[in-house]
């Protein structure tokens, strides 16, 4: 992650951002769902990274434009127009779907505090049933571990609680939803994204007066390095 100077705006913007490489992977569509969700939550907070994403997508568009066209075999304009006619016919229920945006507005005031991308996964932070994981640590699983080893979950960490010291077989993204945590690399608040990969070991500690709620997504299981960590690993399922 890169620590950038906060821009001169009235509101607090994130200080810890995804790397350009991560935004390229997100924009190219090659990140798994959990990692993409973590990036999307950061993007909801960060105009600068949205601008970078727009550039990545422009790059994707230019690459698409430069591809030698592949001749169509069975697909034709006529068949596509036929499908359009059928779908636009009066009485076809698909027609009502036509303008539905990909992400809808929040359902009610309860959802207002959740970043948009997360609303497709959880109704609100207040109504979640948190599972107790260890003293001071509770969790909600958002996406079960996929065949490639990725997973996403919400952790709720009580003030002063340290997560076990752990390393990573792959990429781990942590994005803060509320509260703060700190690790060897810095202090993270709402919208901040910690990108940790390869051989990094880190030990996050919730360091404000209220619970820290964060989304953690991994593309490979974590390796806890301390004894306590190894004991907890089967159980934390990260």
């Amino acid at each position: 992650m890169t620590a950038r100077q906060p821009a001169a705006r009235q509101l607090v913007l994130p200080n810890h951002h995804p790397s350009d490489a991560l935004l390229v992977a997100y924009g190219a569509g090659s990140l798994g769902e959990g990692l993409s969700l973590a990036v999307a939550v950061h993007l909801a907070h960060c105009p600068d990274c949205r601008a970078t994403l727009a550039e990545v997508e422009a790059l994707g568009g230019a690459l698409l434009e430069d591809l030698p066209p592949a001749p169509l075999e069975n697909l034709s304009l006529a068949a596509t127009l036929d499908r359009l006619e059928r779908e636009e016919a009066p009485g076809n229920p698909c027609k009502a779907m036509r303008m539905r945006p990909r992400c809808s507005r929040p359902a009610g005031p309860a959802a207002a505090s959740l970043p948009g991308p997360l609303r497709a996964y959880v109704p609100s932070l207040e109504t979640l049933s948190w599972q107790r994981l260890a003293p001071g640590v509770r969790r909600v699983e958002l996406l079960p571990r996929t065949s490639s080893g990725g997973a996403a979950q919400l952790l709720r960490i009580a003030p002063g609680t340290a997560l076990p010291h752990h390393g990573h077989g792959g990429l781990e993204l942590t994005v803060v939803l509320s509260g703060h945590f700190a690790d060897e690399l810095g202090r993270y608040g709402p919208g901040d994204l910690a990108e940790v990969d390869g051989d990094t070991n880190h030990q996050p500690i919730a360091d404000s007066h209220r619970d820290c709620i964060c989304l953690i997504a991994t593309d490979a299981p974590l390796r806890f390095t301390g004894l306590m960590g190894r004991l907890m690993q089967p159980f934390i399922g990260l």
């Binding site: 490489a21 935004l23 992977a25 798994g32 909801a44 990909r102 970043p115 497709a120 990429l171 593309d219």
Partner: protein
């Protein structure tokens, strides 16, 4: 297509060690695109934008032109990612149907037509292949920063943007162009790209960072 990619990868395996002219020739294919500085390419971009705006108003002739241009390219994109030909065509059709349905959401001030079509095809592919969602933020959901849209005088007009983007693409080094191509067309995570190219992960990430710095500068947002 897959054979082509495989040969690109094979030749790329010696990156940073042997200056194999064949490899560089292949990797440089993107950057050596003749359309790079071609004003015709930019005019084309403006025409496509106008067609998309017309499609939002129900113009079928404009849709036919977009179909002729983009359907074979979306198919090519999917073939490059390893999708079988029939599914690649299905996805090209789904993409074009989405273009029709969502045309009114297209904002020519914010993106080229190709950019917009690319994002639709990318998302449909993720839906189709992985049955996974691609979590995204819609424009009205930026947390607490309602007014971050660029001011009118800051928005590059479509033609200038298209020309400058092509110039930036042409200025990538062969090594940068290669990781960009692999990022978009090989469906590999960065560690796997590093392994294929036999370079450290940090090298893949720094090449992407340098490539993005060129794109960012070209698109006029170099103060970040």
């Amino acid at each position: 297509m897959i054979a082509q990619l495989a040969s690109l990868l094979t030749h790329a395996a010696g990156a940073d060690r042997t200056p194999d002219p064949k490899r560089i020739g292949q990797a440089a294919r993107v950057s050596a695109n003749p359309a790079a500085a071609d004003p015709a390419a930019a005019r084309l971009a403006a025409d496509q934008s106008a067609d998309l705006v017309a499609v939002a108003a129900g113009d079928r002739a404009a849709f036919a032109r977009l179909f002729a241009h983009f359907a074979p390219r979306v198919k090519a994109y999917m073939l490059k990612l390893g999708m079988p030909a029939q599914r690649a065509e299905d996805l090209a059709q789904d993409t074009m149907l989405s273009v029709w349905r969502k045309a009114s959401l297209y904002d020519p001030a914010k993106a080229e037509a190709a950019t917009w079509v690319f994002t639709i095809a990318r998302n449909l592919r993720i839906d189709m292949l992985r049955r996974e969602r691609h979590p995204e933020v819609s424009d009205d959901e930026l947390q607490e920063h309602e007014d971050d849209r660029p001011r009118a005088d800051e928005v590059l007009d479509g033609d200038r943007r298209a020309r400058r983007l092509r110039g930036a693409l042409a200025s990538l080094t062969p090594e940068q162009a290669e990781v960009v191509q692999l990022s978009f067309f090989a469906d590999l995570a960065h560690p796997a790209i590093a392994e294929r190219l036999d370079v450290p992960l940090g090298t893949v990430k720094s090449r992407l960072r340098l490539a993005m710095a060129k794109i960012r500068k070209a698109l006029g947002d170099d103060d970040r």
